[in-house]
Symmetry: C2
Subunit: 346 residues, 2 copies
């Protein structure tokens, strides 16, 4: 059985973790959950295991040197420089076009946290097996709460090691999210995929022919430079960007899913990071990083890169001090951080 090719996507601005995540140093490249950055965790999750080939990373030019530094000595890693940010479908298609037509690619965001790497690899193997049978496979994350911030996948008929996808569901309101959780039929759409490269490109050509054509042109006109590949900028610039879900997954007749219960979080905002760090909480549920004094607090998350933070009497609040910015938000408000002037105008 040929190895699975990890494709690690480094798009996204991560403004919801502002002010720590900034344009010049976005979320994947920060040591948010452990001493490793989220990107380093994505790489090491599939490293040192013969069932996985060296990773192919897709990223913008602004982060190329960060990525090279954080890849360190990862043997055989390749870096594809996106000439422009065009959402996930073109990024994935670039990688597919650069891999052997029969390669199974495992597409992973670089800015998620997965606590249980073994469960991740097991799900990846199941997904790869379905991909070899020309399914386009999504990871369905076991839902443990009525989350309104994620899309959902509804399970259909069983397949070997997974299920057909019966329905793609947009982010629901709370009432619907509760129904989904109660029904047991729904998983979160984790944005992790497995495809056979040639099959993915064929489906893209069927559902987004113009995008497929421009990606092929960008690859044909691209330039390799050591481990880096630079697709041609002009055709890539013409692409109308779209997500892989909209461009392909929701249109194909071959959508499948594997179930993954692996301690996953997209670390989508400060409250989500606090949850991912819950193992470090004190008896009041507080999680702190750096110099922090708490008095009479519950479920406070506070992190600082220098100045001391002192907190009295708060509950369910995230406090972030980074550089010349101080952010204080409720857990509920954390979703709106990306719309703050500081995050928008950085």
């Amino acid at each position: 059985m040929s190895a699975i090719h990890p494709v690690i996507l480094c798009g996204g601005s991560g403004t919801r973790l502002w002010p720590v995540s900034r344009k010049v140093m976005p979320k994947p490249f920060l040591p948010l959950v452990s001493d490793e950055t989220l990107f380093e965790q994505a790489v090491s999750r599939v490293a040192g295991d013969a069932r996985f080939a060296p990773p192919m990373v897709v990223a913008g030019a602004a982060h190329a040197d960060l990525i090279t530094a954080q890849l360190g000595q990862t043997a055989g890693a390749r870096l594809v420089i996106e000439p422009a940010a065009k959402n996930t479908a073109p990024a994935i298609a670039l990688a597919a076009a650069l891999l052997p037509v029969d390669a199974v690619m495992l597409v992973c965001p670089s800015d998620h946290h997965i606590a249980d790497s073994a469960a991740f690899r097991a799900a990846a193997l199941a997904a790869a097996a379905l991909a070899r049978e020309d399914y386009l496979v999504s990871f369905g994350i076991a839902a443990d709460r009525p989350e309104t911030g994620y899309g959902y996948l509804r399970r259909g008929e069983p397949l070997a090691g997974g299920y057909a996808i019966r329905q793609f569901v947009e982010k629901p309101d709370l009432e619907r999210a509760r129904e989904y959780l109660a029904s047991g039929e729904y998983s979160w759409n984790g944005g992790i995929f497995a495809f056979r490269a040639g099959h993915l490109l064929g489906e893209l050509a069927a559902h987004r022919p113009e995008m497929a054509r421009l990606v092929a042109e960008a690859v044909a006109g691209g330039v390799a430079e050591g481990a880096r590949f630079h697709p041609a900028a002009a055709p890539f610039a013409e692409i109308e960007g779209d997500s892989i879900d909209y461009a392909v997954m929701e249109n194909t007749a071959r959508a499948a899913m594997v179930s993954a219960d692996m301690g996953w979080s997209d670390i989508g905002n400060w409250a989500a990071l606090a949850d991912a760090l819950a193992g470090e909480a004190d008896e009041g549920g507080n999680v702190v990083r750096g110099s922090v004094d708490l008095a009479a607090c519950r479920d406070v998350f506070a992190t600082t890169d220098g100045p001391r933070i002192s907190v009295v009497g708060l509950e369910g609040v995230c406090i972030i001090v980074s550089g010349d910015e101080v952010l204080v938000t409720t857990r509920e408000g954390a979703q709106a951080v990306g719309k703050l002037p500081g995050a928008v105008n950085q």
Copy 2:
């Protein structure tokens, strides 16, 4: 009628307004409510009015230069340097011993805010008239809420321009504070006093003879240096410090009060400062100073000396950024700020 002698007390550490108020730059010397500092406001409240003599300021050596700078061109101002902090009774007695025996002294804390200076002066004139008849006069501040952070004065028989004091009450619990407010018989003890200097010293000699003796020794052995007076340190060091309320007011048979409704606040904590600044609030009741972005907030007070503060979804919270300290407290928690490690170990 001879002029009233303002005596401005600059004791107190003001740790409840940490981290802006610090040992080296405590609360009286900060422009908290307006462009003037609280000390400057205390001086200008009685300046340019022939009914008031130039002020006498009593303070520790650490703040002497700050005071001289903030006194500016105040003609005739004098500064008494306390050799040690011994609470209000010895500080007031020092001033009394340095004033003519028949002078009426008006004792004012330097760290309170009074919105209505005309009402203050009117109350001062009424208090001075009673002091000339050898009453020891407290200002009773019109109570507008069941405050548990202040002592109370209970009104007795009417006097000319004031009342006898029927009872001194320690800080009450909330239930009793509500009763006091409902009864209409109680005022807050604002820590503002009028005495005839010789009468105050006589009462002190009666109720605290050792303190009176040591203050007299400290003054007799003191050294004048221009507008500054340095009492002798050795006798002053032996004084057992006490407040003027405990040492004299609660023991005298001649305690009186005047009622004062003058927009008074002791700015005793961050919530009190927020209240004093309520005139600046936006429609959500938020008050901000410096670079602050608010989203979906109510009754938030935020002030920063540099870094931007961004806030999402909070209610009833004070956020203070000063130097290398960030404080976040509920309004209720504001009373406990002085006990934080940062405030204690500065």
